[in-house]
Symmetry: C2
Subunit: 351 residues, 2 copies
Amino acid sequence: MKRGRNRELWEFEREMTSNGAEGRVIVGVDGGATSTVCVCIAVPGTAYFDEPPSVLARAESSGSNHNSVGDDAAKLALEKVLADALMKAHRCRSAVQAVCLSLSGVDNTSDQQRMHQWLREVFPGDVKLAVCNDSVAALASGTLGRLHGCVLVAGTGSIAFGVSEDGQTARAAGVGPLLGEPGSGYSISQQALAAVMRAHDGRGPPTSLSKAVLQRLELSSPQELIGWMYKDYSWARVAAIVPTVKSCAAMGDPVAVKVLANAVEELAISVKAVVRRLNLAGENGTKPFPLVMVGGVLEVDNGWDLCAQLVDHIKGFYPGVKPIQPKIEPALGAAMLAWCSCSGLTNSLSG
Amino acid sequence: MKRGRNRELWEFEREMTSNGAEGRVIVGVDGGATSTVCVCIAVPGTAYFDEPPSVLARAESSGSNHNSVGDDAAKLALEKVLADALMKAHRCRSAVQAVCLSLSGVDNTSDQQRMHQWLREVFPGDVKLAVCNDSVAALASGTLGRLHGCVLVAGTGSIAFGVSEDGQTARAAGVGPLLGEPGSGYSISQQALAAVMRAHDGRGPPTSLSKAVLQRLELSSPQELIGWMYKDYSWARVAAIVPTVKSCAAMGDPVAVKVLANAVEELAISVKAVVRRLNLAGENGTKPFPLVMVGGVLEVDNGWDLCAQLVDHIKGFYPGVKPIQPKIEPALGAAMLAWCSCSGLTNSLSG
């Protein structure tokens, strides 16, 4: 086994007894703009999963969306989280049978190949490797590895992704916040911050967001928001304002309510674009299909249930929709994918 | 005279004969996210200007909005443009009587003080120095130095700024593109790029922007826009797409028309916020006031006259508005400001 790109991360392997390499494992990684999670599971006895497998070890590191944190920081976060999870699982890399990296910001074949090549440097030999967009593992996390239906990820960014019964795929949004991902955590927060500036200079109505956001960011005036916004371009710290927006909406602030209503509508537009292109709801729009929904924006915060509103909205168009909020995290979806012959799957799912 | 922060820029002063320092001059600088312009004028014989003064020398360098290019790059661009203009004017710094830096991104007293301190290192001694937001010099460029009325700057960014007859000031927008400057060049371009992505993934209608924008950026697919957008965070290269948007609108593309109509409405909202707060149009809204309009967005491109649409829109609210499109550039406005006892003026205009 080579030493990896950052040798010190893999030092633990040298200190392992031979016992440490027994019991082969599967590794799944879910990397977003905000954080990266890695889980190890034991190689299962069956080809498919009837229920989610147990997690042997779990590790977390910083964001690994290369568009957000840059290529080098993304790779370092990934190598750290891989090493950390394997160390916790008491396994060397030689015990790894398959790895699936499921990453936001991996949007085309060239991104995929670049990351695949890098992953091969960390796991040389015959370890099965797969790299896919994070939406693919998110779908798998709701369907126990069966890739059919639509998934909506609404975290720092947002993306809708779907697979038809005949294996066709489609995606919508997932273009990063600067190219328009309305409904994402970044976009919701950015609109809230813009509303604070509009209230401040008279372009827009007063809003309770002003006080709440400034308090949340420990700033004393809207003018200070300008310096705050441009001192650091990471998307996650902006998206972190979403619970404050939900809290203001729950208290009845019309500006906050409007921002969140707009998010619901735009997330629904993304889902509808995918469902329509793949004909998931059939010709008359009533056929059942799974809709897996993940990400912080869809969690209930301060009494505001954006997910329920979204499901209501989508049911108006597609009464057969079967909403699924996975109990397991996307990294475990990535591990299940890695097992379900992920290399073949993700080749066809690079979209 | 000290040697400045980057000595090599000022080498020319050592080679100057004593004649080179004769004839005192005033220096005006206009710094935006895209470029920085510096002009030198001769110290005039009168306290005010009846017509724009002649330009002795002019120099141009890269952007100097510290929020966009960073503090160090901004200062280097400024020092370069100052040295270059003085070299072209055949003057040493000892011939300079006053300097006014008019900069986008200078939004509060702390920004102003920091830049003032830096400028003092470049021009030690008793040279009169002033630092203000770029909107102040833009107003001066339309009013020959008399600070009254409203100015709208719509370039890479957008800001409305006004001064009432009793010296009160107000501003709207000017918060940088991430905090919402609808109607700015960046925002128009960003909406056009988002529309291309929406057309691509089925969230929005087809638009001729897709072909036109990809051709303009020499990309072969909408998917490649993602890499293009995130490889470089400078705002100017995004804003440079505006003429393409205007061209599509002029050819009748409804998506491009909508983006530009939205820009007109939002720029009008900024102007109205300032006019209302300063009561520039009087109680019944009919009192005459000057509206100075500058920036690339307001120029006629490919037959699309956004400025005329905006004036029509504003006249609907304020029939007394007197639109002025200055024939001179904002840097010359900054030089006129520098002469009109700028230090006193800009202190009260820091808003």
